[in-house]
């Protein structure tokens, strides 16, 4: 195993990211609700650059007591990254797609003395 020193912890702000190449592996590190999450930059669909996709809150469609709908809304509690190749979406904290059948490959992080390392 090897550790790759990426950056200091404060360089990745909440809602931000850093996508890096560690040797021949590409890793995206995201900060969501204060915590860092790292994913391999490889969409399980067609191996697209998932970590370089745009970040959106999950889209929900509230159903009222009459089973009717009238709006689409963003759920800021679940942040998704959308693959820029084909739009496949994954939760940035869990790595799972909306139906839970596909997931991103998590990369291990180590934080020491304010520095962020990727462990591969």
């Amino acid at each position: 195993m090897a550790e790759y020193l990426v950056c200091s912890e404060h360089e990745i702000v909440d809602g931000g990211r850093k996508v890096v190449a560690c040797g021949d592996k590409e890793i995206g590190i995201f900060r969501v609700k204060g915590a860092l999450h790292a994913w391999h930059n490889m969409c399980p669909h067609r191996q697209g650059p998932i970590c370089q996709g745009r970040i959106y809150p999950e889209v929900v469609e509230p159903v009222d007591e009459n089973c009717e709908v009238r709006t689409l809304q963003y759920n800021e509690g679940n942040m998704h990254v959308a693959c820029p190749w084909h739009g496949w979406e994954f939760n940035l904290e869990t790595g799972r797609n909306p139906v839970g059948r596909y997931r991103l490959h998590r990369a291990e992080l180590a934080i020491r003395e304010g520095q962020v390392y990727v462990v591969l």
């Binding site: 020193l5 990426v6 560690c22 697209g48 370089q52 084909h86």
Partner: protein, 409 residues
């Protein structure tokens, strides 16, 4: 544990891909995948890719033959504010393919092109290089709904202008870029004139009928068109699209549903008429290609038509075989968007359509549901020869292309 210093870690130059990102950066993973699979030695023909012709519309309308319409179009572009491209119909504000910005290359390709070569040549070359493609067949995009234009002559004006412009600005600049020339199908005499004029022109390897239209492909008015194509050994492609003004689809409220059905429905209707009216019997050497409807619909239509035909053969008296036999012998299909969530179904589909000879790889780049050559290469149930046929050799045979790979990966 080894701790590697920051020099061994490289921040990727593109942190978030957007509409300004270079094609080569968007498709960097595709290029690596192509190299890893050794595509340098494989002939890969991409039978359906696109450019956005409306970016060059001000240039294209100068190729309109009719002087009055040409003048009108040029003034329209010089003087009108806040309008769409001259003469085009289509859904305009209903084009949601980019899923609200999630797939930027579908929304727009605004990367820098400053090499002095026509933008569409450079962008096509970049895509070919990244995908590992030897030949790329270019189709227009907004023009695919011209078959529903309220003024049938507009399809003639713009279709001919497009063909002339594309040859002049793109096809003559790179002989690896090809097209199936636009056929103004709503005006059969003009379609015949188009075949006469554009057959044999640089880069023209067949003709294309955009499928969103309400003209019956079996009408007697088209028999001369088919005869001319058969004589010249040039294929006819039916390129699918969607159109929200289609009443049969008008209750659909999500683009997902419109795209899923619209891109299939038009070709299902045309292919049904094509087969049941015996066009393959009347023109046994005419090759038809069914483009951008995916593949899952084909087994359905084969079974459905076979069952119905056996109960009602008197309604299709020209047939000497089952509908499905014509569909697997005289029809070709492009792969994209290849449905892959059920691999058993895909395997059966490829078997039913005789993919080894009838299937043609297509990427549909730069659209949101594009496919890569690796999708075919990675299929576990195909022989290497079948993969080579689908990725390029079937197309080489169909279009009389040199099967020697031309790319440098």
């Amino acid at each position: 544990m080894d701790v590697l210093n920051k020099d061994r870690v490289h921040e990727l130059p593109v942190q978030e891909i957007d509409v300004f990102t270079d094609t080569r950066d968007i498709l960097a993973h595709a290029e690596k995948a192509a190299k890893r699979r050794g595509f340098q030695d494989w002939l890969i023909c991409d039978v359906d890719a696109h450019h956005t012709e409306t970016i060059s519309w001000h240039e294209l309308v100068q190729y309109i033959e009719d002087p009055v319409i040409r003048h009108q179009a040029m003034l329209f572009h010089d003087e009108k504010m806040g309008t769409a491209s001259y003469g085009l119909n289509g859904d305009m504000g209903l084009k949601y393919q980019d899923v609200g910005g999630r797939i930027p290359h579908q929304a727009g390709i605004r990367e820098k092109v400053d090499d002095g070569i026509h933008r569409d040549v450079t962008l096509t070359r970049r895509a070919m290089s990244a995908l590992g493609v030897d030949y790329m067949v270019l189709f227009p995009t907004p023009m695919l709904t011209l078959g529903l234009h309220p003024q049938p002559e507009m399809e003639v004006y713009l279709g001919r202008a497009y063909n002339r412009w594309l040859i002049d600005k793109v096809l003559t600049k790179d002989d690896r870029i090809k097209t199936l020339a636009y056929l103004p199908f709503n005006v059969p005499k003009e379609a015949e004139r188009t075949i006469e004029e554009f057959s044999g022109q640089p880069g023209v390897i067949g003709f294309c009928v955009p499928s969103t239209r309400h003209k019956p492909v079996h009408h007697n008015d088209y028999m001369r068109v088919y005869s001319m194509l058969q004589e010249r050994d040039l294929p006819i492609a039916f390129h699918a699209a969607y159109h929200w003004q289609d009443q049969s689809l008008s209750t659909i409220n999500r683009f997902l549903g419109m795209h899923a059905l619209g891109f299939v429905w038009c070709n299902m209707v045309h292919l049904t008429n094509w087969i049941l009216n015996g066009i393959p019997e009347r023109f046994p050497k005419l090759k038809s290609i069914w483009v951008e409807s995916g593949l899952a619909w084909v087994p359905f239509l084969m079974q459905r038509l076979d069952d119905q035909y056996l109960m009602r053969p008197s309604e299709a008296p020209q047939l000497k075989k089952l509908p499905s036999e014509y569909m697997r012998e005289s029809c070709w299909y492009t792969t994209q968007p290849m449905e892959t969530t059920n691999m058993k179904a895909l395997e059966l589909t490829l078997d039913m359509i005789n993919a080894e000879t009838q299937l043609l790889f297509a990427s549909d780049w730069p659209h949101f549901d594009f496919d890569l050559p690796q999708e075919i290469y990675d299929l576990p149930f195909l022989s290497e020869q079948a993969k080579r046929n689908i990725l390029g050799l079937n197309a080489a045979r169909l279009f009389n292309l040199d099967p020697t790979p031309r790319k440098t990966l």
